[in-house]
């Protein structure tokens, strides 16, 4: 029997790896991947809580499926934006993207 | 329709008329028709009002009426007038009428100018007829905002700076007013924002009153040029075009005094009694300080602006004395100051239009060159320094007598301090007259200038007739005002 805590430890590690990646990577694609890691860690949490705490219900699984769907769509939009940025600026380095202010 | 609703309605119609008029002639036609209609209406209102009072109608407000326009908060358009507001309406329509003629030569964007001017007068008239706090506040805002454009677009000198400063300071004041009226409304537990209802409930607890009173008083006091919130006045007046200066100093500054009395003092009477001493000190400072500042100014409009600080300070000073005589004097002073300061600004505008300078060091000997304007300037000056027979004397004497009726050392001392302003006023007025009107003209350019034209003469003469009328026969208007002041003061004191 794998305890719930192990799942949670994995998802926490994934979460912070994602956050770390989001803060430190300079490449937009890498940042996107980090965001996916964060999202997936949350999905794991949903599934795990459902499985261990409320086994007779299915909302957690549905919610994580729903989140996966949303994140897929979101990734598509994000990549579309990144491609457009690349077309305009010939790179996807985040440090060049400071126009979005004021 | 209620007769009072005509007051904001006529300027609205004037705006429509201006919108469709095609040339200057039509603009002038619309303005003259509308302004004359307003003047006739206000005179008719005075007659009707006095007639109704003579018939024994003793309700606090006459010509009342209204409807709800925002049901969730029970905000109503309630109108009604007493002697004070009738006097103010008369003043406003006189100033709008003369202001129209004083800006007769306005050609650049005349249409837009007059439209904003009409919007401003809607606000002014609406403010004086409103009984509902929120509607009153709304009209107050309507009167303030056009000022920004009128000064910023048609002004002179540092107009953007002045317009911004004036608007921001006054908006700051209105923010305080809004907080204050909400505080009053929710504190009183009234079902509507009607002033009369809130006053008759009279159940705002003292600690709350003590919070809201300074807020509302300062809020209105900013517009009433209360020291130290008066500094928009010199810059604003100096940059504003003639008619706007007239309307602003003549009427808009009276909104401050009127609001202080009608809202701050009348609705928060207990706090007013407890805290009046702070504001009495501030206003006494205003009176003397404004007069001293005026002594060393070199710009005609600055002199008049500081003089307005001094005279409007006297209005607030008198209101805070909280007795019938002083408050009647305050309203008389509002009338008197409105008329004479409008006359001053009209004349300054006319002189500036000819000489293109307002610096008194560059002007001299104008009496020989433009005798009509100069004589009127002397009359305005004499009214300002309180010559008997002109309006200033009546107002000041009523105020001083009323203030002296407060029988304790503090009130006595501040009254004497305020009295000294009559001497300082004489100093700056005579200095000014001596410098710019008397003597010989040193600038050869000025020798070619001409005297007033018919439109200017009309504006000036109407104002002088009003000033002299108020000064020679003050009893009827003073009676009308004091009849309305008596119940309000007795409410405040109980």
């Amino acid at each position: 029997m794998v305890h719930m805590e192990y799942y949670l430890i994995v998802s926490t590690i994934m979460m912070f790896v994602g956050i770390y990646g989001f803060f430190t990577r300079r490449n937009l694609l890498a940042m996107l991947i980090s965001v996916e890691l964060i999202l997936n860690s949350v999905d794991i949490n949903f599934a795990v809580f459902n499985r261990f705490l409320f086994p007779e219900q299915l909302e957690g699984f549905f919610f994580s499926l729903f989140a996966i769907g949303i994140s897929a769509a979101e990734t598509a939009v994000a990549i579309a934006i990144i491609i457009n940025i690349y077309r305009n600026m010939k790179n996807i380095q985040v440090k060049n993207l400071d126009k979005m202010k004021w | 329709m209620n007769i009072l609703s005509l007051f904001p309605a006529i300027p609205l119609l004037m705006m429509l008329g201006l919108w469709i008029s095609k040339n200057l002639k039509q603009i002038h036609a619309v303005m003259v028709t509308g302004a004359s209609a307003l003047l006739a209406l206000s005179v008719a209102l005075v007659v009707l009002y006095l007639g109704m009072r003579a018939d024994g109608q003793i309700a606090a407000m006459l010509f009342t009426g209204g409807f709800t326009w925002y049901a969730p908060l029970n905000i109503r358009y309630d109108v009604g007038v007493d002697g004070i507001s009738v006097a103010m309406l008369l003043l406003s329509s006189v100033i709008v009428f003369t202001g129209t003629f004083a800006s007769w030569k306005m050609t650049d964007g005349a249409k837009e100018f007059f439209m904003w001017f009409c919007l401003l007068s809607i606000g002014v008239f609406g403010f004086f007829i409103s009984l509902d706090l929120f509607t009153m506040f709304m009209f107050y805002e309507v009167a303030l905002i056009p000022m920004y454009l009128l000064i910023g677009v048609w002004g002179t000198g540092r107009k953007e700076y002045s317009a911004m400063k004036l608007t921001l300071m006054l908006m700051g004041g209105s923010a305080l007013i809004l907080i204050g009226i909400l505080g009053i409304y929710f504190g009183s537990g009234a079902t509507t924002m009607n002033i009369i209802e809130i006053a008759s409930l009279h159940n705002i607890p003292l600690p709350l009153q003590k919070v809201w009173f300074p807020i509302v008083f300062i809020g209105f006091g900013v517009l009433g040029a209360l020291f130290p919130f008066h500094t928009w006045s010199p810059d604003g007046h100096a940059s504003a075009p003639t008619a706007v200066s007239m309307l602003h100093a003549g009427v808009l500054m009276k909104l401050g005094g009127y609001g202080c009395f009608r809202v701050a003092m009348f609705l928060l009477p207990d706090a007013a009694q407890e805290l009046s001493w702070i504001f009495i000190i501030l206003t006494a400072v205003s009176v003397v300080y404004g007069a001293f500042s005026a002594c060393v100014q070199t710009d005609l409009k600055y002199i008049n602006a500081y003089s307005s600080v001094s005279h409007c300070g006297l209005v607030l000073f008198a209101i805070l004395m909280m007795n019938t005589t002083a408050t009647t004097g305050a309203v008389l002073q509002m009338l008197s100051h409105g008329l004479m300061t409008a006359l001053f600004f009209a004349l300054i505008g006319m002189i500036y239009g000819r000489t293109h300078t307002r610096d008194i060091r560059e002007l001299s000997g104008l009496m020989r060159i433009m005798p009509f304007l100069s004589v009127c300037y002397v009359i305005a000056g004499l009214a300002n320094l309180g010559l008997p027979g002109l309006s200033g004397f009546v107002a000041e004497m009523t105020i001083f007598n009323g203030a002296f009726m407060e029988n304790d050392t503090f009130h006595r001392v501040v009254t004497v301090i305020a009295c000294t302003s009559i001497v300082i006023t004489a100093v700056y007025i005579l200095r000014l007259i001596g410098k710019i009107l008397y003597g010989t003209c040193t600038n050869p350019e000025h020798l070619k200038l001409t005297d007033a034209t018919w439109d200017e003469r009309l504006a000036v003469i109407v104002l002088i007739v009003c000033i002299a009328g108020l000064g020679l026969a003050p009893m009827w208007i003073s009676g009308m005002i004091s009849d309305s002041v008596v119940p309000m003061i007795s409410h405040i004191l109980n």
């Binding site: 956050i19 989001f22 803060f23 940042m31 985040v94 440090k95 993207l97 400071d98 126009k99 979005m100 202010k101 004021w102 | 400063k165 300071m169 130290p228 008066h230 500094t231 928009w232 010199p234 810059d235 300080y289 001293f292 500042s293 002594c295 060393v296 019938t324 005589t325 000997g365 009496m367 020989r368 320094l385 309180g386 010559l387 008997p388 027979g389 004397f393 009546v394 004497m397 001083f400 007598n401 002296f404 009726m405 029988n407 009254t415 009295c419 000294t420 009559i422 001497v423 004489a426 100093v427 005579l430 001596g434 009107l437 008397y438 003597g439 010989t440 003050p474 009893m475 003073s478 004091s482």
Partner: protein, 630 residues
């Protein structure tokens, strides 16, 4: 006697008419209207006096006080109200005669004097305004009406002093006159406020219970009112405006600054006399000392002035000092017991108005002839202008107090009253009377005898004035000759009863002797062409002479106070404070808001990751707060 309202209404209408029509009227017509109106006023005043005194005394032996006309002009709360009306009692009727007569003479005289001046119509309009205001002042039914007209005479004086408004000195003088008197009026106003509050009315004769309540503050109120009176009547140290006021046209000086307006202060004290004597005798005596000092000061200064109008101005100040002293030395309301001064003061006011107007009008003729105010332009004029010379001499003898001219009688009563008060006061005033004789004859000899300025007179031969100017001179000289024989005490006295003037010949002989000594001294010093004695004295006491010539530097002190202290040390810093501190604070608020905005804007860097760090920090912070809260 309702027709008395016309006495005020006619000049007012004439002022409005002349003021509005202005230059549309021909000068002669404007002057004609003004003069006819004033003549009508004078006739009405004489008729009023005739019927008032003719009606006789009532049962208690006094002339009744009549109020033929009164209306509430401005009601205040608390039972106070300003009335406008007409009150006739002996002193106001006496003043009506003085004012309307002198005003009429000045109106006639001005035809000649002001001929061809620019602004002739304006001049007559202002004269009407002044006449109206002054008449309104004396017939006032209450203290506030008096104040109203008090201000109006002030402003008419301002307008008339500044009549030559292109002349810098005239403008400065008019300004000074108005501001100095206005300053004094502040005292008057506060006095009225105190008086009105405590007695509950502005009436001159408040009810006895009201006075009882006000007793403690009545002296203060009356003292403050006297400050106002001192301003108008040019008492030291508020006298500085009067000599400068001579910049106005000479007939104006005669009317306003010699005969009528400047005695308003005396009239005020006389009007409040019953209250002064009963409730504030101390204040009354203070006025006596002020008056005596002023009389002495002005007499000394008058001895060394070189401008003839200034000499007359200081002489006026000195003579008003006499009147104030006479009132101030009263110790009771009974003329037999110590109230003689009241009658003496009013008598002197009456005679002084006539002979001082005569002196000024004579001076006007002289100035008209030589086009200068300076004594150096004159000398030896007696042969050119015989009529002026004779009338001027009459006036000089009268002011010096020589029997049987009017000045002798009134001054003698004043001196008698002073001696009754205290010998020191009597001696002092007698000495000043001697000084008066000296400086008046110094003036007289310097104008009509002495060293003639031949060069100037060759170039422009002085001539006798036209008929319109000499008729008033003759009339006033005639009045001066006979006025002393009027049984003045039968009309005006402190308790209203008839009082027989009897000359106290010990006092009279002393004062006559002193006057004669003064005249002889002046004759010895100034009659001849060479003035070695006078010049020698001036050189010997050059410091004193210079100080007196500069009027003991009082003007400079004022100049210092107004310019260096009020303007430079109060107004300028206040204005600076307003622009830089108060307004600076508002501007600073705006500036700080802007600075802070710029600072906050920096946080919006545009770097996504930086936003994310803030976001994370915020989220963690919230978590920590929540955990701690639990």
């Amino acid at each position: 006697m309702e027709y008395t309202i016309l006495i005020l209404a006619l000049p007012f209408l004439s002022f409005i008419l002349l003021g509005l029509l202005g230059t549309k009227l021909r000068p002669g017509v404007a002057g004609g209207i003004g003069t006819i109106v004033t003549a009508a006023v004078a006739l009405l005043s004489w008729w009023t006096a005739f019927s008032y005194f003719g009606a006789g005394r009532d049962g208690s032996g006094v002339f009744q006080t009549l109020i033929p006309w009164n209306t509430v002009w401005l009601p205040f709360g608390g039972g106070l109200h300003i009335d406008l009306g007409i009150m006739l009692d002996p002193i106001s009727v006496m003043m009506l005669i003085v004012i309307s007569t002198v005003s009429l003479m000045v109106h006639i005289y001005s035809f000649g004097y002001m001929k061809g001046e620019r602004g002739f119509q304006r001049y007559y309009s202002f004269l009407s305004l002044f006449t109206m205001s002054m008449l309104g002042l004396v017939v006032a039914t209450n203290i506030f009406q008096m104040y109203i007209f008090w201000e109006l005479v002030g402003v008419s004086s301002y307008l008339l002093i500044g009549f030559y408004y292109t002349k810098k000195e005239a403008v400065a003088a008019s300004k000074k006159a108005f501001i100095v008197t206005r300053f004094a009026d502040l005292g008057f106003l506060i006095g009225i406020l105190i008086y009105g509050f405590y007695t509950g009315s502005f009436s001159f004769t408040p009810d006895a219970p009201a006075i009882g309540a006000a007793k403690a503050l009545l002296p203060l109120a009356l003292g403050l009112m006297f400050i106002g009176g001192a301003g108008k009547s040019a008492m030291f140290p508020l006298h500085i405006w009067l000599p400068d006021a001579m910049e106005g046209p000479t007939p104006v000086s005669a009317l306003i600054h010699a005969a009528t307006m400047v005695v308003a202060g005396v009239y005020l004290v006389a009007r409040m006399f019953p209250l002064f004597i009963d409730y504030a005798p101390g204040v009354l005596h203070v006025t006596a000392y002020v008056g005596a000092f002023t009389a002495l000061y002005a007499a000394v200064v008058a001895c060394v002035q070189s401008d003839i109008k200034r000499v007359l101005a200081f002489s006026t100040i000195s003579q008003i000092g006499f009147m104030i002293v006479a009132l101030g030395v009263c110790t009771s309301a009974d003329p037999h017991e110590g109230g003689l001064g009241y009658m003496a003061s009013m008598f002197h006011l009456f005679t002084h108005a006539m002979f001082k107007a005569l002196l000024f009008l004579g001076a006007g003729c002289i100035i008209h002839a030589v086009h200068s105010n300076e004594m150096s332009a004159m000398g030896g004029l007696r042969k050119y202008m015989p009529l002026t010379h004779i009338t001027f001499l009459v006036a000089c003898l009268s002011i010096a107090g020589i029997w049987p001219l009017s000045g002798f009688f009134s001054k003698d009563e004043i001196l008698a009253a002073c001696f009754r008060f205290s010998p020191a006061m009597g001696v002092l005033m007698t000495f000043i009377a001697g000084l008066t004789a000296f400086y008046m004859f110094r003036l007289y000899y310097s104008i009509f005898w002495g060293k003639e300025n031949k060069a100037l007179h060759q170039e422009h031969r002085p001539h006798e004035a036209p008929l319109s100017m000499t008729i008033p001179l003759i009339f006033l000289a005639a009045v001066t000759l006979v006025a002393g024989w009027i049984p003045f005490g039968h009309f005006v006295s402190s308790d209203g009863m008839a009082y027989d003037i009897h000359i106290d010949w010990t006092v009279a002989s002393v004062s006559l002797g002193v006057a004669a000594a003064g005249i002889l001294l002046a004759t010895w010093m100034y009659l001849r062409e060479d003035r070695t004695v006078a010049d020698g004295l001036a050189a010997r006491f050059s410091g004193l002479h210079r100080a007196a010539y500069h009027r003991f530097y009082i003007d400079e002190v004022y100049q210092f106070i107004t310019h260096r202290i009020i303007f430079a040390c109060i107004s300028a810093p206040v204005a600076w404070f307003d622009r830089h501190v108060v307004d600076g604070f508002m501007n600073m608020l705006a500036a700080v808001t802007e600075k802070v905005s710029w600072g906050i804007r920096k946080m919006q860097s545009g770097y996504v990751q930086r936003y994310a760090i803030w976001f994370l920090g915020g989220a963690l912070g919230l978590v920590i707060v929540l955990l701690l809260a639990i």
